[in-house]
Symmetry: C3
Subunit: 365 residues, 3 copies
């Protein structure tokens, strides 16, 4: 985040940093004490898959049908356990390729240091860290916290708790800090502007501006649209927008909500869209996009077809790619906020007050 | 700039830093209180062109025939104003692609925050910095200083003031700090050596060495050649150079001068060559090469042909590319200067004593 | 070297740094007071070859049949002396391409600053550092130390002293700090595991584990195999390895030794393999692999054929490429050592106690 050498200062320079929200400012790598979706279940097989989440390198591997997550670094000499030369020599274990240290996949304990023989005194004295894993609705979820894992249901939106729900989506890695992703997702102002020519909303009459409040709704904060303005006269400039004949439907009936640790929900009439921005490093995140419906197999099937032939490309693809372009280049602070940014400041306040502390973290009570 | 771990020290180690010329040493990004040529006029149209000059990111755009220069960062959330998704919605303004903040192109003032409606209280309270721009002799000139712009004529060499002058040339981006470019341009020693086999001076008998003084000449310092030596006997080594039959013309009648902020002038009998090294970052610069003549349309036209078919490729191309190779790899200090480097030290003295201060800069009187 | 955020701590966290061996820990760029092989003799001709060794940039060039080594940086303005535009103008000298400073190739002394004429007062007052060079058994050896060069024989293994020895091999540049290379070379544990499926040892029955001592042997430390275990039953896991019909020969009769400054010797029955890891930067090294025999021209010739058609590809290529993969990703400390790592700790102790000091180095007595 770079500061311009000199910024015109009509009305003051704006916000130079995020010290108003110190926990948020510090959370470059997110918050650890949450369950995060990190991969599609179907992508995790016997062959290890290295992932990086919240700055941690992790090896995912399925064993006996169960997905295991290990810190991806051999405690012996630091080689990645997911190295292509590593192997499984005994059931339920994984052997580092360099010297054959063999770890229990469930506990992480060193059960054999093969090249030191069966009596090796180091056995049972070393372990690689393992992480709690859940598989649910086709996704692998990880707990990376230092504390006890919270109940899974605390972090998974209720629409996604029923295993019978149809869940489709995309998981990609994107540039930009996770907070720019989350802020963009809930940002009231950009929706009307950045996406105004998007194919996804081609037929929808977008408001120029709206009156809006951010309200609390369980773990969520939600944007409540109070008044939409579809046409406006800007003094000295002119009218906006020009009328377009193909814009027929007025507004859309969506409800947009955000919660910790960085989960967006957009409720459509019959289905729901979700997003997660799971920090990878400070400069990138795993972008999880889901669409879900739970209205019986026939409706679900029809929605599945609709997703595959339309929404996947036009919404999760083209539409959210406009967001990607912005998240990549957002560079704040410094920043100068305006009225619609109450959606951002309410989110930051929520984080500041309610983000879970790790054991031992300063400020923990 | 790296120091060799150990340097043979016959006669001492040489100059370890530039602390003799502290302002010059500090001027990694050049001096701001000057007019700089930064682009060809014909390259700046309605579509924004992002440039980086003196470390600053700037968006150039023509509007109503006039070139405007804005700090290329939206004060709202830091997105580049030159982003390909940004647009012009109202005459004389430019709208950021993310949330539609709309800036007056001349003043930089926020005239509408469209997604906050016509009554948005932030209007008129924020501005993006704009920079004074001049178009002259086919070039766009920028004032990046913090102080009041100086008269344009103070910084433009007099040969270039007459709009009737024919001006041709090249603008490229080159590696290496701008000071290595400027020093190379005025450097007395290398001309005879580095370029000794250049096609541009194929027929010219180059001196092996010369006696020379650096004299003051208005804003310029000029190398006055006092005595040329075309052949020399080096004790214990032999004679240099071997005679070459095709070297016929003795010397060339050029006069080489340098001035702030880093402008080289080489006067040939009937035309003049100019160079600027405009800092981009500490490791690169915009290299502006001009050739100008002002002797009536017929002479100018003949020179234009000569430039297009010969001088552009052989002088501005091949010859100055030898300079580029050196500027890229020069690595000083440490350095060990020799007699011809009086051209360098006189330049550094000039900078030290006469470079304009920015308001508020330490040492300003 | 990165620390995992949290490491399971069954039995403690292991070694967090190398402060037990402070000289070793500090030796990121190796030890200077040694002769190092750096290039094949046949690759060094009249055209300068730039190399980087122990962090130093050096220009190698043959002149009058003798190889010269100069610090590859002109003391004038820092241009590399090995620049493609530099040239030889007088016998026994080398001229920098920028301003024609001309250095004696043997002493490094500036014998002419051509563009300052024959009387240039700087002549004889500046020198570029030169380095002692030896050519022996087809290799160029450099002394980069600050002290007096040691007798060449002190650093060259005795098997390589006889100029009649046949010496073949490969010189490549590899990633990873030189110490990871050296440790991998002498490492007892990995040989049995990492290479267990290598073509080079396809027919050899590898032990699962062995009892071993590291003994002193002149300048060398040597791994003495006391007892080999070819099969083992791991409690709760099973037997290792499965018998393979093509593994016939029991063990191999090699003797593995290591010495300063990082030289491996593997003695086979009739020939010997050597390795050097010559630091380039902290993250890379020149990897010198040699194979030598000295048993008369007929045996030597047969070995030469064997090397060209088999050992070069299967041993120096495929087998040692497995080592390369590990040296590239080793990341220690932190590390957690086990019994076979006595080979590593004995090496570190040797370095700690016997590595030569440079004049003026702290701790020098
Ligand atoms: S580094 Fe993993 S077993 Fe040695
Ligand atoms: S970042 Fe430019 S309008 Fe929001
Ligand atoms: S830099 Fe080598 S002679 Fe000037
Ligand atoms: Fe969006
Ligand atoms: Fe030049
Ligand atoms: Fe090995």
């Amino acid at each position: 985040m770079s500061a311009p050498e000199k910024q015109a200062t009509v009305g003051g320079p704006g916000r130079r940093d995020w010290s108003t929200w110190p926990r948020y400012e510090a959370a470059v790598l997110g918050f650890k004490e949450y369950w995060y979706p990190v991969a599609w279940s179907r992508k995790i097989g016997e062959k290890p898959v290295p992932v990086q989440v919240l700055g941690q390198k992790i090896m995912l591997k399925r064993d006996g049908g169960v997905v295991r997550a290990l810190h991806d670094r051999c405690p012996h000499r630091g080689v990645p356990l997911s190295h292509k030369l590593s192997s499984q020599e005994f059931p339920g274990t994984w052997s580092c390729c360099y010297h054959g240290w063999t770890f229990d996949l469930e506990t992480g304990v060193l059960v054999a240091a093969i090249t030191d023989g069966p009596e090796s005194p180091i056995c049972g004295k070393v372990a690689v860290r393992t992480y709690p894993v859940r598989e649910h609705i086709g996704l692998v979820w990880l707990w990376l916290g230092d504390g006890e894992p919270r109940p899974f249901e605390d972090d998974v939106p209720e629409e996604l708790l029923d295993p019978a729900a149809l869940v489709v989506g995309r998981i990609t890695v994107r540039d930009g800090n996770w907070r720019f992703g989350a802020e963009n997702g809930f940002d009231d102002g950009h929706a009307k502007w950045l996406h105004r020519n998007a194919l996804w909303t081609k037929r929808v009459k977008m408001p120029v501006w709206s009156e809006m409040k951010v309200i609390r709704d369980g773990p969520w904060i939600t944007r409540r649209k109070d008044k939409m303005h579809y046409q406006a006269e800007f003094p000295g400039l002119g009218s906006f927008p020009r009328k377009k004949w193909y814009k027929r439907r007025e507004g859309n009936k969506t409800k947009v909500s955000l919660r910790l640790p960085g989960t967006l929900r957009v409720k459509y009439e019959t289905w729901t869209h979700f997003e997660w921005w799971v920090p990878v490093t400070g400069e990138g995140h795993v972008y999880v996009q889901l669409a879900t419906m739970n209205r019986g197999w026939w409706n679900n099937f029809r929605f599945w077809v609709y997703y595959r032939v339309w929404a996947r490309w036009v919404f999760h693809g083209m539409f959210n790619d406009e967001d990607r372009l912005m998240v990549e280049v957002t560079d704040a602070p410094p920043e100068r906020l305006y009225r619609p940014d109450v959606s951002l400041t309410e989110w930051r306040k929520l984080v500041e007050q309610e983000a879970r502390y790790s054991p031992g973290e300063a400020g923990h009570d």
